[in-house]
């Protein structure tokens, strides 16, 4: 047997197999299609073959990185979850995926990355805690800047800033999109009957983070909770295809307050000790260099020049 294909994606948390939207989409599709993948859960995107996550390393054809390209590749390898769909349903898939990307994705990115409270309290904290040193100082800010820049370009407003009005516009469009999805889903188990397809993977990938990650600014999550069939859809997929994740959540609501502080303690203490040591070392170095403190050495001529400096500084000290 040839080596299985390897998928590199972001680590999971909050009861999800991965915290990233694209990674969730790809993981869900792979489960639906029954593709045998060796999944590497990473917290450092540089360790993936292409530098971005998710990435699929194929057998002999290099690496593929965007979700749509990964799904196309899996289909070519005969792992096709859309085999039973009619041509019209395939066309509907394309249309609804466009709807998701245009209407829902900007609001999701806003709520996770651009909204100040959510970004600082949840997203940045998660990435700063989980990404290894020293990348954790650089990566969250870079991802934030990238997403803000993309939002500015797409809305053609270079001065775009997070604010009440922008939030309302984006959330309104997202609510409309979610309502349309809910109407299309109706009371069915999946979008096209009884077996899941690519569209189910995309919808799951976009809605699951919203459902599971507890955010301080909950407006978008409240919209989702008003649409029961979509909630049921996501929990269904999690229970059926990712049962192992549900049993081992790390950040759950009741313990989050304590859990967060506890996780911070070792870092905080270490940071305090390091900063005190650094400050003391800096002050000592300055003192020695300017001559406030002298080091008695065995060389007499050095001692004389130092004494002059000490006399000058002596007045200040007294």
């Amino acid at each position: 047997m040839a080596a299985p294909m390897q998928l590199y994606c972001w680590k999971g948390d909050y009861g999800l197999p991965s915290v990233d939207i694209d990674c969730l989409t790809v993981l869900a599709y792979a489960k639906f299609a029954g593709a045998p993948l060796k999944v590497h859960k990473l917290t450092n995107p540089w360790r993936s073959p292409t530098g971005i996550l998710p990435t699929l390393q194929t057998r002999g054809e290099g690496s593929v990185s965007q979700p749509s390209k990964i799904i196309i590749h899996l289909r070519k390898q005969k792992y096709n979850a859309d085999y039973d769909l009619s041509a019209k349903e395939g066309a509907d898939t394309l249309a609804f995926v466009s709807l998701l990307e245009e209407k829902l994705l900007p609001a999701l990115i806003y709520t996770l990355w651009i909204d100040s409270k959510n970004y600082v309290d949840v997203t940045r904290r998660w990435y700063a805690e989980n990404v290894p040193f020293p990348l954790n100082f650089v990566l969250p800010n870079r991802m934030h800047a990238q997403r803000l820049g993309r939002l500015q370009l797409v809305r053609e407003d270079p001065a775009l800033e997070p604010g009440e009005q922008l939030e309302q516009e984006l959330y309104q469009e997202a609510l409309e999109c979610m309502t349309l999805l809910s109407q299309r889903l109706g009371s069915q188990k999946f979008f096209f009957g009884d077996s899941p397809s690519a569209l189910d993977a995309y919808v799951f990938g976009h809605l699951a983070p919203l459902l599971k990650i507890k955010l301080p600014n909950r407006k978008l999550q409240q919209y989702l909770s008003s649409l029961e069939n979509l909630q049921l859809f996501c929990t269904n997929i999690l229970a059926l295809y990712f049962p192992s994740e549900i049993q081992a959540p790390v950040h759950t609501a009741p313990t989050q307050a304590d859990g967060g502080d506890m996780d911070h303690e070792p870092h905080k203490r270490w940071n305090q000790v390091m900063s005190v040591l650094f400050a003391m070392g800096a002050m000592l170095g300055y003192a020695i260099l300017t001559g406030i403190i002298t080091i008695k050495s065995a060389h007499p001529h050095l001692q004389e020049s130092r004494h002059d400096d000490v006399d000058e500084e002596g007045e200040e000290e007294d």
């Binding site: 019209k88 993309r150 370009l153």
Partner: protein
């Protein structure tokens, strides 16, 4: 448009009926490479609302959101298909009232597909493909201006479009890939249309207007190669769809040679 402004506009719109002197502004004909004036025009004609077409060189600057074409109705100016549809709805004319919820969801989804794929592909081919950009697009875009403004504006627009393509991940796509995407989109539309006269059976909706506008523009505009129009023509039901709409809604303009109507001198599919 912000939500408050939209509500305000709808309120004012509802107050008066559709006037006779509504005007649609678009850039000069020879100027814009791929004109999309057909989209709101088709929609308004399907609603049975009269509108004159005016070509202005500075249409882009007159528009409230910077997008062309836009309509001037009464004392309001509305641009982009979404707001125009809402505006006409407030005046009591709507094409999608007869649809149920599932159909409306599908309509919105397909409109997003067209916007996402076709519109972006059109922009890509015009501005990111070097041959087309240098031979056709920049010339046409800068033709109403004198030197050196024409160069500056053309390059500025090109730079803006390329940045946007970068942001949404299309910069890495080659031209072949873009043509493939357009084919895929056309096939999806063709599947959805099937053998029906319109996308939602007997009545035209804004989706029909949008699809017609884009396809008509692509089919009638000359680019460096005919690859794009060939791909569309390979879906025969889309081609007959476009012809049918042109015949039904734009036929009367062919006979009249009135000065106000610019369309009669325009291109056609026949």
């Amino acid at each position: 448009m912000s939500l408050a402004a939209e509500a305000f506009v709808s309120q004012i719109a509802a107050a008066e009926p559709w006037p006779q002197n509504a005007t649609l502004y678009q850039p000069l004909r020879g100027n814009q490479v791929l004109m999309l004036s057909s989209v709101p025009q088709a929609y308004l004609r399907m609603c049975g609302l009269p509108v004159r077409v005016c070509c202005r060189a500075n249409a882009e600057y007159m528009s409230p959101s910077g997008k062309v074409p836009f309509i001037h109705v009464g004392n309001q100016v509305v641009s982009e298909l979404g707001p125009i549809v809402q505006f006409t709805k407030a005046k009591g004319h709507s094409l999608s009232d007869g649809l149920d919820d599932v159909q409306r969801a599908e309509m919105k989804a397909y409109m997003e597909l067209v916007n996402n794929m076709l519109l972006t592909a059109e922009l890509y081919i015009q501005w990111c493909d070097d041959t087309t950009a240098s031979e056709i697009t920049r010339q046409r875009y800068s033709s109403p201006y004198s030197w050196p403004l024409n160069h500056i504006l053309a390059y500025q627009k090109q730079w803006e479009v390329r940045r946007k393509m970068n942001a949404i991940g299309w910069a890495g796509k080659g031209l072949e890939q873009v043509y493939e995407d357009v084919s895929q989109c056309c096939q999806a539309l063709s599947q959805r249309l099937g053998t029906q006269p319109f996308f939602f059976n007997k009545q035209p909706t804004e989706l029909d207007a949008l699809v017609f506008g884009h396809l008509f523009t692509i089919l009638t505009t000359r680019l460096t190669t005919d690859e794009l129009s060939e791909r569309i023509k390979s879906c025969s039901n889309l081609l007959s769809f476009c012809r049918r709409i042109e015949q039904t809604y734009f036929e009367e303009d062919k006979d009249s040679q009135s000065a106000g109507s610019q369309y009669s001198r325009g291109p056609s599919l026949f």
